[in-house]
């Protein structure tokens, strides 16, 4: 048993959701210093904030996956991020075949390069652009949309869906009684889901009778006895996981990497001149502003002591990977983007049995998109007349990125 003196964390009572969404770093810096595992009242949950504690909780045999309350309200059950045991194994076996490196290598270039080219062609001679909405997000959603079999859904609609699902998923504020503090914050997510069902249900109807090579068609059929398909209610929560995180995050990742590079013009120039550096630049971008900043959680399966705190069985702990990646115990000057910092592993893709299933695919989408961007516009500059704002606690990235170049 531990008998450590409890730090005074009453300052946490004043932390609000909108403050975390604007800038979570101040709060989490203090958490890392004072209580790497702490109960945060506005979230109604324990939070792990350092690299060590995030990794420990994410990989511990005494914890398993659980979805956050707002996440569960948004996605329903069984979402891949919130289930364990056989159901988790089945959902992983359903999503993984399309995301295996050997498989991805087969088609990734042919899939992503033309998409990136197509969006670039629309603005490459304009001399100015807003890259988040004109490039990063469209490439991100189009690549995954085509992989899933959603060719008929246009990119703007996919972008609208992930934005609505995002705000619903991260509508995390809780009252003292453990109720949602802002229940109407789920409405736009519900509307998005209704629209998704209206569009995807007919596609599923068709895939059931006419399987094709799209990922969702495979999800329905793979590993099932002949003549049977997975029930759509069983796969929808995981479709929503994709339509939020998997759609949104490669876009966030590219945009954050670009903002980071713009903060180091000499490093931007090195990367533009030598595209071999792009994967490293992206890796540092993921560390610097982790797209999935604090969206997943684990729950203890028995009483455990973590970072000196005793918690009973059944205690959820949110994993703040975006904070872990700013841990000064691991990274020097973590809030600085630095392509050349000592290349230590980061936690932007999570850890343990619930680690991101799309790492390889996502890294290549971002790489190819950035290769094409720098190839088409090697003289890219940030438009300094416009600022760059980051937003998000659950998911984080720049809301816009204005650039100019000589044409």
């Amino acid at each position: 048993m531990t008998t450590t003196e409890k730090p005074d964390l009453s300052w946490l009572d004043d932390v609000t959701m909108s403050e975390l969404e604007r800038n979570p770093y101040r709060t989490y810096e203090r958490l890392r210093a004072e209580a790497p595992l702490a109960f945060v009242p506005v979230l109604g949950s324990y939070v792990a904030s350092t690299a060590e504690v995030c990794r420990e909780v994410a990989t511990s045999p005494d914890f398993e996956g659980v979805i956050t309350p707002a996440g569960g309200r948004t996605f329903g059950h069984p979402a891949i991020i919130g289930v364990n045991g056989d159901i988790h194994a089945d959902l992983r076996s359903m999503v993984e075949p399309a995301l295996q490196p050997v498989e991805v290598d087969r088609w990734i270039d042919d899939l992503v390069r033309p998409i990136a080219r197509r969006y670039l062609e629309q603005f490459e001679n304009d001399g100015q652009a807003e890259l988040v909405s004109q490039f990063c997000e469209p490439v991100s959603v189009r690549a995954l949309g085509d992989l899933l079999g959603l060719q008929s859904v246009d990119s703007d609609k996919l972008r609208e869906w992930f934005a609505k699902l995002n705000r619903s998923f991260t509508n995390a504020a809780m009252t003292e009684d453990g109720e949602f503090a802002n229940p109407e914050g789920f409405r736009e997510g519900d509307e998005a889901k209704a629209e998704i069902r209206a569009i995807v249900d007919p596609l599923i109807d068709r895939w059931i009778v006419e399987p094709d090579d799209s990922a969702i068609s495979h999800w329905l059929h793979d590993g099932m006895p002949p003549g049977q398909t997975r029930d759509r209610e069983y796969i929808y929560p995981t479709i929503y996981v994709y339509l939020l995180g998997a759609m949104q995050e490669p876009g966030h990742g590219m945009a954050s990497t670009l903002v980071g590079l713009f903060s180091r013009p000499e490093q931007l120039e090195q990367v533009v001149d030598d595209p071999v550096l792009i994967p490293r630049a992206i890796s540092e971008g993921m560390r610097w502003t982790s797209p999935i900043w604090s969206a997943t959680a684990r729950i203890s399966t028995k009483p455990v002591t973590v970072a000196g705190v005793d918690i009973p069985a059944g205690t959820p702990v949110m994993l703040s990977y975006g904070s872990a990646n700013h841990d000064t115990g691991v990274y020097e000057a973590p809030s600085t983007y630095d392509l050349h910092r000592p290349p230590l592993p980061h936690l932007a893709f999570g850890a343990g049995s619930h680690a991101c299933a799309g790492i390889y695919f996502a890294n290549h989408v971002m790489r190819i998109a950035m290769e094409e961007l720098f190839e088409a516009i090697p003289n890219l500059e940030r438009d300094t007349r416009e600022g760059v704002d980051f937003w998000g606690w659950g998911f984080r990235g720049p809301t816009s990125l204005h650039v100019t170049w000589e044409v």
């Binding site: 030598d274 890796s283 592993p345 680690a355 790492i359």
Partner: protein, 335 residues
């Protein structure tokens, strides 16, 4: 017990119980990696020498065929011997040779500038734009000089040499006692400053910018490019201080006569002369070419000129992977 892991020419110590990835990252050597638990495949690499133990590498991430083909996951694999890891696609290169050449001609062609022709006992395989390293007699010093030849001019090497006052290789030798008939020790060919193989050369427009004797490799590259695609657009800028530094004007006039798409543009930086462009060659390019999309660019000369050239090319939106630069420190700078 530790082993040596060699990656791209760098050696890193790796314990028998340490992953290759961990050893490299700790030594400050970056490698792609994401999950560090063997599930994402980001760290997959080719083992070209020695052996590794794959430990817990999952077969989903690293298939049996990949293992048989020598692939490994850096985050999982432990060395069981010294290990060499492959870099990005080792391209076939011309074998490096030690040569003994004979001086056939030494000619003063411009202010402080000589052309040296070296005869070889047997042909040398190289690509236009590559360089050789000469051993300065008596001093053991080595100096790098680009070849102005095309690949079929493989028995007489043409070098352009600029005098550096007091330099061991120039004043002390090439501008000193060097005489026809002398033997010269050399090594070559070296360097990656050359055209892509003919099969990958689509005949696209090219701009070449040479500063001083940095012109030499461009003479070989431009002539090779025109031989492959006689009507392609080739702009060759030669940046020098004054008209007295220019050379081979007849050669370029002749080339322009044979190829309508070829243009030679001398640019004088310090001593303006009537009928000649003045300023820096990279600025002249920016003035002349409104868009270099789809072009390739070739830079050889003093580092500041090369840097300015990269910027100028990108400003005109040339794709960076089509920008080629001679990276060795020009012999002029060393003497």
């Amino acid at each position: 017990m530790g082993f040596a892991v060699t990656v791209g020419g760098r050696r890193v110590e790796c314990d028998a119980d340490q992953s290759l990835l961990d050893a490299c990252l700790r030594a400050g050597l970056w490698m792609p990696n994401s999950c560090n638990q063997g599930t994402c495949g980001t760290c997959k690499l080719q083992v070209v020498g020695g052996e590794v133990d794959h430990r817990d590498s999952p077969f989903d991430t690293l298939t049996a065929e990949e293992r048989a083909a020598g692939m490994a996951l850096a985050c999982q694999a432990r060395p069981v011997s010294d290990v060499e890891v492959g870099g990005a696609g080792d391209r076939a290169t011309h074998p490096l040779r030690d040569l003994t050449a004979t001086v056939l001609e030494v000619a003063d062609i411009a202010r402080d500038t000589r052309r040296v022709l070296l005869g070889l006992p047997e042909p040398l395989a190289f690509s236009a734009g590559q360089y050789v390293e000469l051993v300065v007699p008596g001093s053991g010093a080595r100096r790098q000089y680009s070849l102005a030849n095309t690949a079929d001019e493989d028995k007489v090497l043409e070098l352009h040499v600029r005098r550096v006052p007091g330099g061991v290789a120039t004043d002390g030798w090439l501008f000193g006692g060097l005489a026809v008939g002398d033997e010269v020790e050399a090594t070559g060919p070296l360097g990656d400053f050359h055209l892509p193989p003919e099969s990958d050369d689509d005949g696209g427009p090219m701009v070449l910018v040479g500063g001083g004797t940095g012109l030499a490799p461009l003479v070989g590259i431009a002539r090779t490019a025109l031989a492959r695609h006689p009507s392609r657009e080739v702009l060759l800028y030669h940046g020098v201080r004054g008209a007295a530094d220019l050379y081979d004007l007849d050669r370029f006039a002749e080339l322009a006569e044979e190829h309508a798409g070829f243009r030679f543009v001398p640019v004088l930086s310090e001593e303006p002369a009537a009928g000649r462009r003045s300023g820096f060659p990279t600025d002249a390019f920016v003035e002349d070419v409104p868009s270099a999309r789809g072009w390739s660019g070739w830079l050889s000369g003093p580092p500041a000129m090369v840097e300015a050239g990269v910027k100028a090319f990108k400003r005109r939106r040339m794709a960076p992977r089509h920008i080629h630069r001679e990276k060795f420190t020009p012999a002029d700078a060393l003497g």
